[in-house]
Amino acid sequence: MDIRILYFASLRERLGRAEERLTLADGTTVAALIQQLRLRGGAWAEAFAEGQAYRVAVEQELASLVTPLGDGQEVAFFPPVTGG
């Protein structure tokens, strides 16, 4: 399945990337995707390391590690929000 990933704010700056498309195995969860991103090493391993604070949205709704991903979906990773 193909997904689109967006990165925002300080996370985007750390990773040097605003968006990308990935092909994943059907049924991949958010947790499994994060594992894959960590394997890139460097800034990716640091940004998504255990204990790092970031949030995930799937199809523009806040999601969790166990949220499964579907074909054509939009996933976003971002720091804790600071609006208002």
Binding site: L6, V81, G84
Partner: protein, 152 residues
């Protein structure tokens, strides 16, 4: 409800008139305005840039309003949040809540701000003399939002 994410400034008088025109069932309008300050954590801030997640921002704000409507009597509600580059003194966010009575209007307004602060995808970057830096989320905001889990 009226939810807007925009670069342009908002006018509270215009929005209040819009919210209340032709209605006589509204007995209370509670409002909140968030402003950009020139100091944060002992640093002088010369400007602030607000980034957001287009698409999710509006959805998240609408969801927050619906939650407020489920908990309190909310006859109508307006949220306007600015994005882009702001200067100290500029308005960042406006929340207006209309109810028949003040208790629900005040509570819903505070709830909406506490949830916006922790769930709406905006991120602030401050420009200071030492360069630019991203504002960190505050624990006190999470605590404020959590408070509503056990309150009416």
């Amino acid at each position: 409800m009226r939810v807007a994410v925009q670069m342009e400034p908002f006018d509270i008088a215009v929005e209040h008139a819009r919210l209340t025109q032709n209605r006589t069932d509204i007995g209370a309008v509670a409002s909140f305005v968030g402003l950009c300050r020139s100091d944060n954590d002992a640093r002088a801030v010369s400007a602030m840039t607000l980034e957001h997640y287009p698409g999710m921002t509006e959805k998240a704000l609408e969801q927050i309003v619906r939650e407020a409507q489920a908990r309190w009597q909310v006859l109508d509600c307006t949220i306007i949040h600015r994005v882009g580059r702001l200067l100290p003194g500029d308005g960042i966010v406006l929340v207006l809540v209309a109810s028949a009575h003040r208790r629900d209007a005040f509570a819903a307004c505070e709830f909406i701000m506490d949830y916006l602060k922790t769930r709406a995808p905006f991120w602030k970057k401050e420009a200071t003399n030492d360069g630019e830096r991203w504002v960190e989320a505050r624990e006190s905001d999470d605590e404020a939002a959590a408070r509503w889990l056990s309150q009416r």
